[in-house]
């Protein structure tokens, strides 16, 4: 009975590693391709996650909850008002709507707005200002904040009360800062009382430079034909649904008469740009990984050719062909593994540095840097297969006589 030749895993690792570290400079250069490839892959995946996270951070709640309906221009000629006067109430009944109201710009011709009864040619006190007619529901729909006074309500509109709310910019121009005395305002020959001043609005910012009067008042004083615009504030996530339901709710007779603007989707646009860029970098990373693999294969093959003597010696000392092949496979796998570790470190560092420079929060799936060394090792294993087979095929005595 003859004992077989055997080699412990520890010895195999030891022999392979000392073979590698005998030529540190070569090892470093060989690993470079894998390092670059895997660093590019890790950095790309990390940065794409990081910028993806940034988009979520910037998610615009205001934009995502706004739906605006306007009459379709071609349909308005039909005669019937495209938007009904009770549009706000109808919309509010839909599930998912927070607030809704209508808004129109009133055509007042050449009429100027003045806060002073005195007509001073040296110091004009009359201005051309936008007159907007709104339903009371519009104020919450645009998230209006009041600076002073009050807003008008449904009663004012129904009674066609001559009241107005000023946008902050309009109030500045007219020189009105307080409303406790109910200052009067002349729009052409009509007088309205200012009951409130807006501080700001989240939507429809042109309201801030307008004189805002109730719709009912506008119908009586200025013959407003129909609302020009319906603004809806929805719950988060409901905007798409509301946008689909809106035409039917407002114009069951002719839903096509309305044009509904649903929230734009900036994230999707950015995603498209980002994924193009990601693809480019992933391809680049893949290509450099491939180049790295070829590099490992090449250097391992050269190393096999240089070490024919050592291979012959090991065979003579009792190594089987398998032992020799295993040694070179472990060497190339180690090269790939080391490249993977360094690549993962560098890729992670790139993600952190880029994030720091842009004050982003670096986001990286922990599996990415952990998988990089495994991918590197597999690359090395595949690259080393052919050289290992070559090494195993050497005839030991030829190798011993040829080598040094």
């Amino acid at each position: 009975m003859t004992a077989q030749s055997r080699m412990s895993a520890r010895d195999l690792l030891n022999e392979s590693l000392s073979g590698l570290f005998a030529r540190p400079a070569r090892m470093a250069l060989t690993v470079l391709g894998t390092v670059i490839g895997l660093a590019a892959l890790v950095a790309t995946l990390g940065l794409s996650r990081t910028t993806g996270n940034r988009i979520v951070e910037r998610f615009d709640e205001l934009v995502a909850t706004e739906v605006v309906a306007t009459p379709r221009p071609s349909a308005s000629s039909a005669g019937a008002a495209a938007l009904p006067w009770d549009a706000g109430e109808r919309i509010t009944r839909l599930n998912g709507v927070v607030a809704a109201g209508t808004l129109s710009k009133v055509d007042v011709g050449d009429r100027l707005v003045s806060a002073s009864p005195v007509n001073d040619p040296q110091n004009p006190t009359s201005f051309r200002l936008t007159i907007s007619a709104v339903s009371p529901g519009l104020f919450p729909a645009v998230r209006a904040a009041l600076a002073t006074g009050r807003l008008f309500d449904e009663g004012h509109s129904q009674r066609t009360d001559r009241v107005a709310v000023l946008g902050s910019a309009a109030a500045d121009r007219l020189g009105i800062t307080r409303v406790d005395q109910l200052p009067a305002l002349r729009i052409g020959d009509e007088t309205v009382l200012v009951i409130g001043i807006l501080e700001g609005v989240a939507r429809q910012p042109e309201l801030l430079s307008a004189v805002i009067i109730p719709e009912g008042t506008a119908r009586t004083l200025f013959r407003l034909a129909s609302p020009a615009l319906a603004v809806v504030d929805t719950k988060i996530g409901a905007a798409k649904l509301i946008a689909a339901q809106l035409p039917l709710a407002l114009r069951p007779d002719d839903p096509r008469a309305l044009r509904v603007a649903s929230p734009p989707e900036p994230t999707r646009v950015r995603d498209a740009v980002q994924s193009d860029l990601d693809l480019l970098f992933l391809v680049l990373g893949g290509v450099s990984l491939l180049v790295g693999a070829i590099g490992i294969a090449n250097v391992t093959l050269v190393s096999v050719m240089e070490r024919t003597g050592e291979i012959g010696l090991r065979r003579a000392l009792g190594a089987t062909r398998g032992h020799v092949a295993a040694q070179f496979l472990v060497e190339s796998t180690t090269l790939g593994f080391v490249g993977g570790i360094i690549g993962a470190c560098m890729g992670t560092l790139v993600v952190v540095i880029v994030s720091a420079l842009n004050t982003w929060t670096p986001v990286l799936d922990p599996m990415v840097p952990l998988l990089a060394p495994i991918i590197g090792a597999l690359t090395g294993l595949v690259s080393g297969t052919y050289p290992a087979i070559r090494a195993a095929r050497f005839e030991p005595v030829d190798a011993l006589r040829a080598g040094t």
Binding site: Q4, R6, S8, D11, G309, E310, A316, P396, V397, R401
Partner: protein, 229 residues
Amino acid sequence: MPETITAPVVELTKLSKRFGADPPVDALVDVNLRVETGDWIAIVGPSGSGKSTLLNIVGCLDTATSGSYRLDGIEATSLDERQRAGLRSREIGFVFQSFHLLSYRSVLENVMLADVYRGERPANRRARAQRALERVALDHRAHFLPTRLSGGERQRAAIARALTGSPRLLLCDEPTGNLDSATTATVLDLFAELNEQGMTIMMITHERDVAARARRDVRIVDGVLTEQL
């Protein structure tokens, strides 16, 4: 020593080796050879005569086409690759013309390398290597790199590596081919000393002076082996 009951270290019977098929080349033809324990045999012959083929087969690195080869009583021709590798590591110590020391490892580490494929416990290897180096009187160079040794010292380190496993046979391929005559003499003195201690030595050489130091002398020409008397 009761040599009659121990098998010869090497016993070749009608051993032939044929290479290729078109046309076939006969490297060895019906070789018969007995090498007893404690023998020292030199194999001489011109290049291309079949010396290296014989070395391959005796060293269990290759198999014969026909015939029988018994190494220490074990029929080597019927063994598989792993078993032959095991036989190489336990029964045979190889010594080469160009030493084959790994240049990036110390002399001691080079000697310890022989135990890697024997499955020897790592804890024992250092002591075994140290003893082998003492046997060739090179223990004072244990921590040198081979590049800092002279040619004779390198060959003694290689012999120490061959001796660690207490092999039955020391198989030498042109062991003095790279050495000057003074160093050749010291290496041959070492072989003589080992042979005195009972080591069986098979030595391939083309130098007549070297062959003359051996106890026996066989000549191989065109694959045919003849004993020099």
